[in-house]
């Protein structure tokens, strides 16, 4: 025992390690800083998992466009525990983004960014950007079809930058196409630049936490006055604070432990994320989708009005980041309690709901045609019974002409256009003919693409689509033949 003590003393005398670490471990934190304050630690824990599993994966992963996909399959199927390492890395990445978002939300709701912690917030915003960049570059590492076309989306957005679009795109891709140099560029970012930046920013974030202390739980009336705050805070910590170790750290440890076990279970049950289809751009039967952290952006870009889309795509992210950075400068004193800051709480709630709604939209993608709907989703039996040969042929045309890709019948099919189960109660025969031939309301005009017999048949079928207890909106005698002139001369 005394030998151990002597050894420690020997090291301490030469390094001063304990003198450095002790204040970090035993600095006083607010007594009331209970379970609200565990999310930052959990984020850091997931980051540590990312570093460790990332280094492990780098020992087998081949960062080359020609081999990356095969090497991932090799890790999944051949390397002992390889699949679990990939599962841990993938799910921990998602968990880290989620935990970071919760941490940020808590800090925002409690206004912990006010004096003197403005820079804590700002380093946090840069950490957010770094982690999102890690998530995006990580998706590229998978080098499957989603990665390839995800890069294509990134390239197309860069291409829209005025004047320098082409140059920015070339910088991003490392050349004129998505290829070998693209993967290596993103690899360098993913394993060197961004983790380095994240480690540096985490260090800075921690230094600021030690320097400024952890904020107390907000109390209505306990306003932040910059001129006196620091002195009063330090006095309160001195008299009423508790040492970080173990009073606060024990909660961090419990929460992180639960998170870690949860991550393990998630990874073991769900398995590795991807890789999806092989990255051959001539295999076009693919439905490219981004990873979850970017699903809300994917949703947003399909809902933007085309006219202002470019401007919004290029400017909105920059404005968003600037606003985040500016928050502690707009309000760095005064009340911190959420009950005294209803507008800020509302802003947070609206933002969370908007991101959740866009994520849902992106996941379900109602705007995307169901590409094989026409050939894979049968006409429901209830719409084929008691139909005339012409109407039945119309049902065939409805499938044949890919109507089903955008229109559902009995809940199955695309949701880009309206479900047509009861279309005959909404549109008259003439209106159906006009809608099919001229399109409109985001539907292509089928006038040149269907001949008159096809149009007549499909409209005859559509005219039967109404509940049996509800009359259709057909005007008696209005079922005139489709004009055969121009349309027949296909």
């Amino acid at each position: 025992m005394s030998f151990l003590k002597a050894s420690l003393a020997w090291i301490e005398e030469r390094t001063g390690a304990m003198a450095f670490i002790a204040p970090l471990l035993f600095h006083h934190v607010p007594r009331n800083a209970k379970w609200w304050y565990v999310f930052g630690s959990a984020t850091l824990m997931f980051f540590t998992i990312q570093i460790v599993t990332g280094v492990c994966l780098a020992t087998v992963y081949a960062p080359s466009a020609a081999q990356a996909w095969e090497s991932l399959n090799y890790i999944d199927n051949e390397v002992p525990m390889g699949w679990m390492l990939r599962a841990l890395h993938g799910w921990s990445s998602n968990a880290m983004v989620v935990m970071m978002a919760i941490h940020m939300l808590q800090v925002f709701l409690h206004a912990s960014y006010k004096y003197p912690r403005e820079l804590n917030w700002i380093t946090g915003v840069f950490l957010l950007l770094t982690v999102l960049a890690l998530a995006f570059t990580g998706q590229v590492m998978r080098w499957d079809q989603d990665a390839y076309w995800g890069l294509g989306i990134g390239a197309a957005i860069a291409d829209r930058i005025p004047v320098f679009g082409d140059q920015v795109r070339a910088m991003l891709l490392g050349g004129p196409i998505i290829g070998g140099e693209t993967l290596n560029r993103f690899y360098a970012l993913h394993v060197f630049v961004l983790p380095g930046a994240a480690i540096a920013l985490v260090g800075l974030h921690m230094v600021l936490i030690i320097k400024n202390g952890i904020s107390e739980m907000p109390k209505p009336g306990a306003v932040v006055v910059p001129s006196t705050y620091r002195k009063e805070f330090e006095e309160r910590m001195h008299t009423d604070g508790v040492p970080f170790m173990p009073d606060a750290a024990q909660r961090d440890m419990v929460f992180c432990g639960v998170c870690l076990i949860g991550l393990f279970a998630l990874a073991a049950i769900s398995g590795p994320i991807g890789p999806g289809g092989m990255p051959d751009p001539t295999l076009i039967n693919t439905n490219p989708r981004p990873d979850y952290p970017f699903m809300w952006l994917f949703g947003a870009v399909s809902l933007l009005p085309p006219a202002s889309e470019t401007a919004i795509m290029l400017i909105a992210p920059a404005i968003g980041v600037l606003l985040l950075l500016a928050i502690p400068f707009f309000s760095n004193s005064g009340e911190r309690a959420p009950s005294k800051r209803p507008a800020m709480v509302l802003l947070a709630v609206v933002t969370v709901m908007a991101i959740a709604a866009l994520t849902w939209e992106g996941t379900t993608s109602p705007w995307s045609p169901v590409m094989d709907g026409w050939s894979s989703l049968p006409t429901p039996a209830k719409f084929t019974r008691g139909r005339t040969p012409l109407e039945m042929q119309g049902a065939v045309v409805f499938q044949y002409a890919q109507c089903r890709n955008c229109h559902a019948l009995d809940g199955q099919g695309g949701r880009r256009g309206p479900e047509l189960d009861a279309v005959a109660t909404r549109l008259s025969y003439d209106q159906l003919v006009r809608q099919v031939q001229q399109g409109g309301g985001n539907m292509p005009a089928y006038g040149k693409n269907l001949d008159s017999a096809q149009t007549a048949a499909v409209v005859a079928f559509l005219a039967t689509l109404h509940p049996s207890n509800e009359p259709d909106s057909m005007i008696p005698g209005a079922q005139l033949p489709i004009p055969t002139g121009s349309a027949a001369a296909h």
Binding site: S270, L377, T379, Q399
Partner: protein
């Protein structure tokens, strides 16, 4: 000791293969396997050719169909399509399948849904407008006796001599409709009892009635049938 046992079992569990998370190595599905047939059918055919009343065109998940259809007829229909209601699936014509895949698909469908022992399909499948010439005049009489009750201009099942309908269906399509019927929708096949024809139609009668129906198309079949 207990904890060591726990660790050992955990590692065994992790290294094992029958858990949900473990990826099963990519196993390419050979195009002559029934799994491939089922998935190719589900993606490419099922939208129109399903089972029972589901699907607007002839149900293929149906032993009755395979009892009659020959492989050659089905292969040709898949490869080259049917007028303006069924696309060509042959790669040379812009479709997704190689000739070998189409053959596998047809053989696979027959073993999935055909009755045991119907290796090649029945007599009716082989008859087609190319084999037996029909006579529209004789067909008119057959039609008025056997078909018009349901399919005449005032028939309850809807007219089959509507020119718009006829412009969308080829003669081969009319043959198929007459021969296979749609038992799921109440239409008998050619060999089943129909009005005035207790034992169904003969091959020649099918040819005649198709000629008769076809004569109502009004414009040349080629013009509307496309390539």
């Amino acid at each position: 000791m207990n904890s060591r046992l726990l660790l050992a079992s955990l590692i065994t569990w992790l290294a094992g293969c029958d858990r949900p998370g473990v990826p099963h190595g990519a196993q390419p599905v050979a195009h002559d396997s029934l799994a491939w047939t089922q998935s190719a059918f589900n993606t490419n055919c099922r939208g129109c050719h399903s089972q029972g009343a589901e699907g607007a065109a002839l149900p293929l998940m149906n032993a009755n169909y395979w009892a009659v259809a020959t492989d050659a007829v089905v292969i040709e229909a898949i490869a080259h399509g049917q007028g303006r209601s069924m696309p060509a699936y042959l790669d040379d014509e812009g479709g997704p399948f190689t000739p070998a895949q189409i053959v596998s698909l047809v053989q696979g469908m027959r073993s999935l849904w055909g009755a045991k022992g119907s290796a090649t399909g029945g007599e009716g499948g082989a008859i087609s407008p190319r084999v037996i010439a029909g006579d529209a005049g004789a067909g008119a009489a057959v039609f008025s006796q056997a078909c018009a009750g349901c399919h005449g201009p005032q028939g309850s099942a809807g007219s089959v001599i509507d020119p718009m309908y006829l412009r969308l269906i080829s003669d081969q399509g009319l043959w198929s409709a007459t021969i296979y019927g749609r038992s799921d929708l109440g239409m008998p096949s050619w060999s089943q009892t129909m009005p005035n024809r207790p034992t169904g139609l003969t091959a020649q009668e099918v040819a005649d009635v198709v000629s008769f129906i076809s004569s109502h198309r009004g414009i040349a079949q080629k013009a509307s049938d496309g390539p």
